[in-house]
Amino acid sequence: MPELTDKKVKNLELLANTIRQDIIEMLVLAGSGHVAGSLGMADVFSALYFHILNHNPKKPNWSSRDRVILSNGHICPVLYASLARAGYFPLEELKKLRSTHSRLEGHPHFSSLPGIENTSGPLGSGLSQAIGITLAFRLDNLKNRIFCLMSDGEHDTGNTWEAIMSAGKYRLNNLTAIIDRNNIQIDGFTEDVMPLESLRAKYESFNWHILEIDGHNIEAIIDAVNEAKAIYEKPTAIIAHTIPGRGVGFMEHDFSWHGKPPTEREARAALLELRTLSGRLKEE
């Protein structure tokens, strides 16, 4: 991982802002999709694709690349925007999200698009896929790191806990899960729908190393990933506390934005807010 300077941090924050603008533009054109989680994870994606990952967008199948397994596929707008910004495919294609003749499926499909490492959508099976890859790499003595991005809501599924248990069993230190702890899911707040706390204690009891960070703090994200690399006996889960809808005031913290796109008018307001923030960042 390259050195992290103040300038680089600012650059990553700006990239996250750009990705957020992409998300708003994509969703308003698509007319459907999941906005809150996508916006909330933009900082994590910016840190991953523009600093943390060992990858080459021009060679998406390069064997030494790190793997990003997206488990909560519904936040794929943030993945697509990040991949396009990183150079995996033309930015133009973002406008075709969810349309009939597009490679940008409503939920990510393996092999449809360069940079997509797995299929997901139905919640709960991304961590399992990441575990399979990690075990296979261990067999082949490969050192690639595997990042699994998960939602908090998908911790309702049995499959997720089956996976957590098995990663603990196999002490998969090359595997890092980053959990989007934004406290919302479709039907409401996670603690009302199906309480998850204490998530930390649950993971720890399954033999994982746990870190809790502000998921909008670029330096904290990168530091946590570095710490995870230093843990040799266990897989690490980074609980990234995020604000759903982050960056767009009227969407923040409101679970009703989980699964819907903005109207054109709302999109204009959202873009204005994001561009203003971007301008301020540049001036700092």
């Binding site: 499909h109 393996f110 099976s125 990441a130 575990i131 075990l135 296979a136 499959n159």
Partner: protein
């Protein structure tokens, strides 16, 4: 009495046919693959011994993964292995895998067209005394409905071994339906297993006109052979087709033989909805509609009991096949 096709095992029609369990055929197949290809890995869900996966575990401990009673995780972990270039086999009872993990098989394996092989053990009524909860009677239908999936239903231990080995040589998901009980050998070690090619395992003597085509898959084909031998004494000729590959379906062979006989009886240790008979009738109703009867479990669950008793109780035995043959011949138009 000997089987009519030279490829078939000569003992099939003896009073005491040689017996072997499909699960042991699976074990032999996966062991051979383990030796041949270091990319083959085996995942098991706390049923290593009863699925005969433990021999692989002993021989290749580093490539055996005990996933516990967690079939959903097992399927999606296998998808991960395949994403990393391995050839994972997942081994559990068919009621659990694909019974419990259907969605993971659909989304993470089939939709991505990943190289995962699913061994569904104790299928049909072969879990006998364990009862209905452990008797998978729906798995063929579930698996053949999935795009990319191929479905093998071997009829004996030898064919199970060959199906396992063949599955690893095909890219993409394959479901292999296996059974617990020791059942008669129908094929021989020399019988070729070609995925997608249905094999005739019985034809009437030259002087007897073939009047019915019996299409079946799995160990219950033995009952069809017994039925055919009885029918022949009554001068009723039957051709028996071993449809070991349900998907892709050997359409040409089925139509060719259907034209020869003018009627069909299907036989399977499975619900009659959408399984072996379902696949055949979907084809024939479109391309060559002729009378057809279905021998299978008719919209009911199984129950505890001896396998041999259950075959009779659910009307899958030779007597039931003969009854269906007589019925379908009467319905013929020519």
């Amino acid at each position: 009495m000997t089987a009519r096709k030279t490829e078939s095992d000569k003992n099939t029609f003896s009073d005491k046919p040689k017996l072997a369990a499909l699960r042991d055929g699976f074990s032999e197949g996966i062991l051979k693959l383990g030796e041949e290809n270091k990319n083959v890995v085996l995942l098991c869900a706390d049923v290593a011994e009863s699925t005969r996966s433990h021999f692989f575990k002993e021989k290749f401990p580093e490539r055996f993964f005990e996933m516990g009673v967690a079939e959903q995780n097992m399927a999606a972990v296998a998808a991960g292995f395949a994403l990393a270039g391995k050839i994972p086999f997942i081994s559990s009872y068919a009621v659990f895998s694909p019974g419990r993990n259907f969605e993971q098989i659909r989304t993470t394996i089939c939709y991505s067209n990943l190289n995962v092989k699913i061994a569904g053990h104790h299928s049909g009524l072969s879990a006998g005394p364990d009862g209905a909860t452990h008797q998978a009677l729906e798995d063929i239908t579930m698996m053949r409905a999935l795009p990319e999936m191929k479905v093998f239903v071997p009829c004996d231990a030898l064919e199970a071994k060959k199906a396992v080995i063949a599955s690893a040589k095909i890219h993409g998901p394959v479901y292999i339906r296996l059974a617990r009980e020791r059942t008669p050998l129908i094929t021989s070690a020399k019988t070729p297993f070609i995925p997608g090619r249905a094999d005739i395992i019985f034809e009437p003597k030259e002087k007897i006109k073939p009047q019915v085509l019996i299409i079946g898959a799995g160990p219950v084909l033995y009952e069809a052979l017994l039925a055919a031998a009885v029918l022949e004494k009554e001068k009723i000729g039957a051709i028996i087709l071993n449809l070991h590959t349900i998907k892709p379906l050997d359409e040409n062979k089925i139509i060719e033989l259907a034209k020869k006989t003018g009627c069909v009886v299907s036989i399977e240790e499975h619900q009659i909805f959408g399984g072996v008979g379902g696949a055949v009738s979907e084809l024939l109703s479109k391309k060559y509609p002729i009378p057809m009867e279905f021998v299978g479990v008719k919209d009911s669950f199984g129950k505890s009991g001896l396998y041999s008793d259950l075959i009779k109780k659910y009307n899958l035995d030779s007597a039931s096949i003969i009854e269906s043959v007589m019925k379908v011949i009467k319905r013929k138009k020519f």
